[in-house]
Subunit: 485 residues, 2 copies
């Protein structure tokens, strides 16, 4: 039965009672529980965590040094081999006290590190240290937001912070989600419950793939896809579609397309939805972060006209995953999510004043991702977050200017948010794809790809506020060096 | 633009390049990025995190001391007031460098702490320190499992660990989920895609509420609910239902009901499903942990006959939320989850050897919850985890014996896993509910509730392996003291 402690700290023996309300509790006694591995919370939690966190930080540093670049060299097979070697038997009969160090180090050595300025492919942000530290408290205390008696303070915190974020977007309330995909799913569900199972989704070709996927999940009719030759939803084309299609209709617009960071003409789209009686959802998973910036906020005009808005602070919000939200204009629509489970929200408990939280999510057990968000909003303030947004947008514009001036590259367009699309001049699509894969395989840079105007482009999504102009010049040089000349 | 650093550590200036592959990168220069808040990853990440983690541990200790018991006293309004006072303006114009300490402390002071032996209501486990420490690395590196170039090592780790856990349950592969609710949703989706939208769910009255909810989400017919007067699915009643109902049918059995921790007769149910050509899903979110125990594993015989099995290591696995899995017997059925998004899994990238990960989840961006699971499995081994399972099951049996011998209480039944139902002898349901609420309001204990046999019971779910027999005697004394005499 006895188990080696991973790294025992003082005071980890037993969550003994430090308070005054348990004076009648028995004094701690040596018992067989001494040999059990320590817990993260309780009075002994912090002391048990301290040496383990040191191990994690050391392993992160060692793994990062071992990697020595934005991602590991050698491609998928080489990484899989290193992971398999470190992992060995996944579930051995007896434990290995060094597993924490070994596995964290191999994960760090094999990471695509978004904090490296040369890792710039996706909407994959480097998290702020302060947000990551706050997230530890959520893991340690392990509140679960499906009932008040599992999360007394966390549920109050979530309610306040979610509402503030919704109001920042011009809406009334918000649910916390695992990201844009769950938010879009919820938005379609609310539309289905408001308008029936025949509601048809209408979206632009540049919308996120989670939108048609949500229609499939929810058993809705096949969506109508409007071509977007210029990358954004064209009001004339939308008008035509809304005129031709029988209702009920749900239009999904995008504020920050995944491929190019483009923002659909929101005020015109909102006007058309009103005119045609269509419901409006706006996927602002990427662009929503512009709300923090005095300089860029105007680009989101029209957001407040939506019935639902997807926000996602693990993009322009520098949170560890997950940090999604779905903002809603009409909180009473959330009533359809209501669930009754006697063990979590019995009627008499609710009448006696215990909050009913079960209708705040499609999940049941649910981690308080709101804590790291709240700590970030408070620590940086709107000004601090806005400065980060301004910084990455400015860097993207500078990168675009660099490309425009470079004879060896073609620029797609001036960036609207922080996405820059470019391609080696004169290269065909096969060569463009090969540049990206070569850089990945060699572990030199992580660039993305996007198909627009019928051609394949390299994509840099600047989400790292610490990126300097020199880093981007270096990134361009790497792309140049990997292009067959 | 400049922003006060929350707690600057040395070396947090810039994720400069420590490796050899970037020798041509420019040397770090003082620049305005010096004033930006530090990131969690990159070479400077560990040093930036260290002082912030100290702040978190101190705030956890201070908050826990302030609480002085299993949950805060005063009820929902008192907690909400304390949170509102600590929170103040959620999104101030300028930042507050002390927000991390303030908010973590108020969260800890207002937590229902599952590491306190008197917090024993729900399937809400105290996480192991080693799992929580590992989870920090996931937050810091922020890999996202929707594409290889965001999670090279994490995706390899997930594939290996998920498969091992599936095989431990006698199935072939597993997807990682946010918990039992998402696992059940996925199980119903796979049934819908295998048998069409007319597939009807058949479940016992004691099944988890997420099962009928998933049927609603997926647009399936209303489920057929089989009464379970004894708490488990009766094979004779199931046989009758399967005989009477037109197909296709999906039977959902439960290994560890939420209310009582009961296990349906799995081999008989599996036999009936085979005989009637019905598909079988087993929700083993709670009971699945018995697989780690030599002593209790036999209770899960029949699990391997299911098409899909829900597992959940944030219950009998001592993980921070989230740690769910859906094990599948036929991995080829997962093909229906396949998605194509050129930016994540273009055909030519897949052909060139980049793994296609998009069909491994209904989410897109996705945190590597597998890391903490892998670290726990390796650190403790099957023996160590089995010892924890045995410990909580033994404690629950001891608690039940204590209740049986107590003239003031009635015991529901001998526990099958670690859930003990009891009620003050002679009390009516209103009085039973009031006992629980009084203990909650006074911050003295967190007990659950369950309605079984047409009566309301108090519920203790023993999930804390550090709980001692004396703690449970104390818990019973508190319940006794709160019962109107």
């Amino acid at each position: 039965m006895s188990q080696p402690l991973p790294a025992p700290g003082p005071g980890t023996r037993h969550p003994s009672d430090p308070g005054t309300r348990h004076l009648s509790a028995p004094a701690p006694n040596p018992s067989r529980t001494d040999a059990l591995p320590p817990l993260a919370s309780g009075p002994g939690g912090p002391d048990a965590l301290r040496p383990l966190l040191d191990t994690v930080l050391d392993a992160l540093a060692a793994g990062s040094g071992e990697r020595g670049g934005p991602l590991p060299a050698g491609g998928p097979e080489a990484v899989a081999t290193r992971v398999a070697d470190a992992l060995g038997d996944v579930l051995p009969d007896t434990g290995d006290p060094d597993a924490l160090r070994t596995l964290v180090q191999v994960l760090a050595a094999g990471a695509a590190d978004p904090a490296d300025p040369l890792c710039a492919a996706h909407l994959h942000c480097p998290p702020l240290a302060v947000a990551t530290a706050a997230d530890l408290a959520a893991s340690a205390l392990n509140p679960s937001l499906d009932s008040w008696d599992q999360a007394p303070a966390a549920s109050a915190l979530e309610a306040a912070v979610a509402r503030t974020l919704a109001r920042t977007a011009g809406l009334a309330d918000a649910l916390v989600t695992t990201g844009g995909t769950e938010s879009n799913h919820l938005a379609l569900l609310l539309a289905r419950e408001a308008h029936g199972g025949g509601v048809r989704l209408v979206h632009g070709a540049g919308a996120h793939h989670s939108l048609p996927r949500a229609a499939w999940l929810l058993g809705l009719p096949d969506p109508v896809v409007i071509p977007t030759p210029n990358g954004t939803l064209d009001p004339a084309a939308l008008d035509q579609a809304l005129t031709a299609l029988p209702g009920p209709l749900l239009v999904a617009a995008t504020a920050g397309t995944t491929d190019a960071g483009l923002i659909d003409p929101l005020p015109e789209i909102a006007g058309l939805c009103t005119a045609h009686g269509a419901r409006l959802h706006i996927d602002a998973a990427y662009g929503g972060g512009l709300l923090f910036s005095d300089r860029h906020r105007d680009k989101l005009a029209g957001l407040e006209a939506a019935h639902t808005v997807t926000l996602d602070l693990h993009k322009l919000g520098w949170q560890p995953v997950a940090a999604g939200l779905l903002a809603v204009a009409r909180p009473h629509e959330l009533a359809v999510l209501h669930q009754r489970a006697d063990y979590l929200n019995a009627d008499d408990d609710t009448e006696a004043g215990l909050p009913d939280l079960l209708g705040r999510s499609l999940r049941t057990t649910r981690r308080p991702d709101i804590l790291k968000i709240a700590v970030t909003l408070k620590t940086l303030g709107r000004g601090g977050l806005g400065a980060l947004v301004d910084q990455v947008c400015a860097r993207a514009r500078e990168f675009a200017a660099l490309i425009r001036e470079h004879p060896g590259f073609e620029l797609y367009d001036r960036p609207v948010i922080s996405t820059v699309l470019f391609r080696p001049a004169g290269a065909d699509d096969t060569a463009v794809a090969a540049v990206r894969r070569r850089l990945l395989h060699e572990g030199r840079a992580v660039l993305g790809r996007a198909r627009l105007d019928g051609r394949l482009w390299l994509k840099a999504t600047v989400l790292n506020p610490h990126t300097r102009p020199d880093d981007l010049a270096h990134l361009l040089k790497l792309a140049e060096g990997s292009t067959p000349g």
